[in-house]
Symmetry: C2
Subunit: 406 residues, 2 copies
């Protein structure tokens, strides 16, 4: 039997593979894309890693873009509509965003440099039995090629059956940095959100603008605009949405320089949030563990998907190191160790998607706009979704937190 | 609302109460016995605390009987019948046994000295609503007065509906210490076990002999003998069981000095192992958390009950300190944090009770008798029942462990 087999070369598969290789466990990573394909093509996502994720990168020896140089320390908030609030919160330790077309191939090279095997091959559900005969444990770390369907959907943790936002993420020049530099979370109540992220990409420092459009809301049309058919019309539409709904970003736009960095630096789509069971049993009785998108798909509105996948990979990896008996007891341990963090990530994200926002979230936002200390806790908790959910899980919890803070 | 209310002044209630008081949380402990009653009367049990429990006592500042002075470092094993094995394993760090009639009142004084409130009052199920109105959180840390029945029995983790052993624990003089001093676990296959524990009691250093008799087995009669009716006959019966079934203890008996230290230093009975749900919701919607015997009752055959109760109290206490929002999310966290350890304690204990023993346990015992390193892992794992269960949960796990060790 040849060690651990991991399907999927995203952040989950790579962080797990690297952790295991750093501990001399044989690992084969199955990727349906070559390193060259991962390093080119259309923008796959716009992802920030928070300090708890960066700490894992440091532990793995893969901190190729230091947060001190490439990172930022704050989240700026703008809330439109009747609330009209503007405030800033500190992350506590810097976060950092690097284009995944640079990040993933670099970590894949770290993985093969560390003795990990790379097999360029698309894995479908019907291939898992063969993999289970080859490897001591099979991990599915991608939802592609129908692999998400291998794991049962957990209905109690998956309230939605359709996308709650339509997504449009692109890389732009011509947006001056906020002061101090940081992410801007801009909420247009009822219509959606914009997440602006300072990102390192092929062109150097660029600005990711990630629009989250409520279906039927004022900027849904943006997501459905075909950029390549009429680039100028698309650019105008982006500028109009910024001007009308996201003034705290628009005020930093230099119109003469504003535009997509490349026509491939744009991705449009939609996802349905979903929590799957932690593992599945194959017909031969062997368990297959779900990781990353095969386990939890969350809307990007608070940017937690990759951070959650990395956390989950770490818990799985530590359990492999401590208890290499790949049976149901093993799978139950993995489930227990990551459950609170993964469910809290999903529950918090789903709360942020509610239209209209629940009353206690509005109370929290109002308090953040008045008290920097409250905004700092909320912002720092982007590192700790479980602690965020401790505050936001119920109106009673939010009020108890705000009363402790005042 | 007056802080935390805890029903039950056993090790679970006391360790929890002390942890909370060390962090300035108001606590009221409800005990149906006065400190004087806890400190006198019939022997309540014969309990050894392992190093992981002693570490909690050190953290609480209640190490009144240091393991260096009162403790021991090894477990001696004797297995009769066809296996005929004799071997010793190291605990890694010393364990220690003190008579609970000294231990509990002393910790109760520590608790009240630390500002904890003591209310001498028997709590019954119908009192819990009143308590829930008085306290922010109510913890039930005793199964007495019908309180165990407040929490639903978890059938999947409670395989037995009747006692698997009849118990007879007493304190004796006239048993010379083993070399080196330690606990002896003596197994008479098919008939039961004897656990011999060096214990500190009112008379100083004494020997606890804890007979576990299989119903219908060769020493069931001992448990049913009325000691007070004919002390000499009882003593003779103990000596005969030692001679016939537990030679590694019997060889250290000095007949002229052998006998019970006091007629109250004997307890006979039987318990049905049971795992209960972690919490119950009262009619008013308030949760009540189960701890100690209200949560998990395990047979004493591997002496884990009190250690498990202390572990569980610690997890509950840490959760109270970190997230003082006493709702179902809180209860779910407590459940998740202690589940693996509590279930592993129960599953391991239940495995040790099986008659005849399962094949893989016999393989483990044989390996221990041949390899000191294997015996040391097994013995050290009295501190870590979850790790013990990692080895013993399935035949495949035991064989994988033994193959790694050889």
């Amino acid at each position: 039997m040849d060690g651990i087999g991991i399907a999927g070369a995203g952040v989950a598969g790579l962080h797990l593979g690297l952790l295991l290789r750093r501990n001399d466990i044989p690992v084969t990573l199955y990727s349906d894309r070559t390193p060259e394909q991962l390093g080119s093509g259309r923008l796959p996502a716009a992802v920030a890693h928070h300090d708890t994720t960066l700490a894992r990168e440091r532990a793995l020896g893969v901190q190729h873009w230091s947060a001190a140089e490439y990172g930022y320390d704050v989240h700026h908030h703008y809330v439109g509509g009747p609330l009209q609030a503007r405030f800033t919160g500190s992350l506590g330790a810097p976060s950092r965003a690097v284009d995944y077309r640079m990040y993933l191939p670099r970590l894949l090279r770290d993985f093969t440099d560390a003795g990990g095997k790379l097999d360029i091959r698309s894995i479908a559900p019907q291939d898992l039995t063969e993999l289970s005969q080859r490897h001591e444990l099979v991990v599915v770390a991608t939802g592609r090629s129908g692999l998400s369907g291998v794991f049962e959907r957990v209905a109690a943790k998956s309230p939605f059956t359709s996308p709650q936002r339509k997504l449009c993420a692109g890389l732009y020049t011509g947006v001056a940095a906020a002061d101090p530099p940081g992410v801007t979370l801009s909420i247009a109540p009822g219509d959606g959100e914009l997440i602006e992220i300072p990102m390192h990409s092929f062109a150097g420092s660029v600005t990711a603008l990630f629009f989250e459009a409520v279906p039927g809301g004022a900027f849904e049309a943006l997501v459905e605009t075909d950029q390549s058919a009429d680039p100028a019309a698309f650019r105008d539409r982006v500028l109009r949405v910024l001007r009308e709904h996201h003034p705290s970003v628009h005020e930093r736009v230099e119109p003469a320089r504003f535009g997509l960095t490349d026509e491939l630096d744009l991705v449009q789509g939609a996802i349905t949030p979903r929590i799957n069971e932690d593992y599945a049993l194959l017909d031969n009785g062997r368990p297959v563990v779900a990781l990353g998108d095969a386990h939890a798909v969350v809307d990007p509105v608070v940017g937690q998907g990759a951070n959650c996948a990395s956390y989950s990979a770490w818990q799985l990896g530590q359990t492999i190191l401590q208890d290499p008996n790949f049976d149901e007891r093993f799978c139950g341990k993995v489930a227990e160790r990551r459950r609170d963090r993964v469910h809290a990530t999903s529950d918090w994200t789903n709360l942020m998607l509610e239209v209209p926002p629940p009353q206690h979230l509005l109370e929290m936002i109002t308090a953040m706009s008045r008290e920097r200390a409250v905004a700092d806790v909320f912002t720092g908790n982007f590192n700790h979704p479980d602690r965020q959910w401790d505050i936001l899980a119920t109106p009673e919890r939010t009020r108890a937190f705000l009363s402790r803070m005042s």
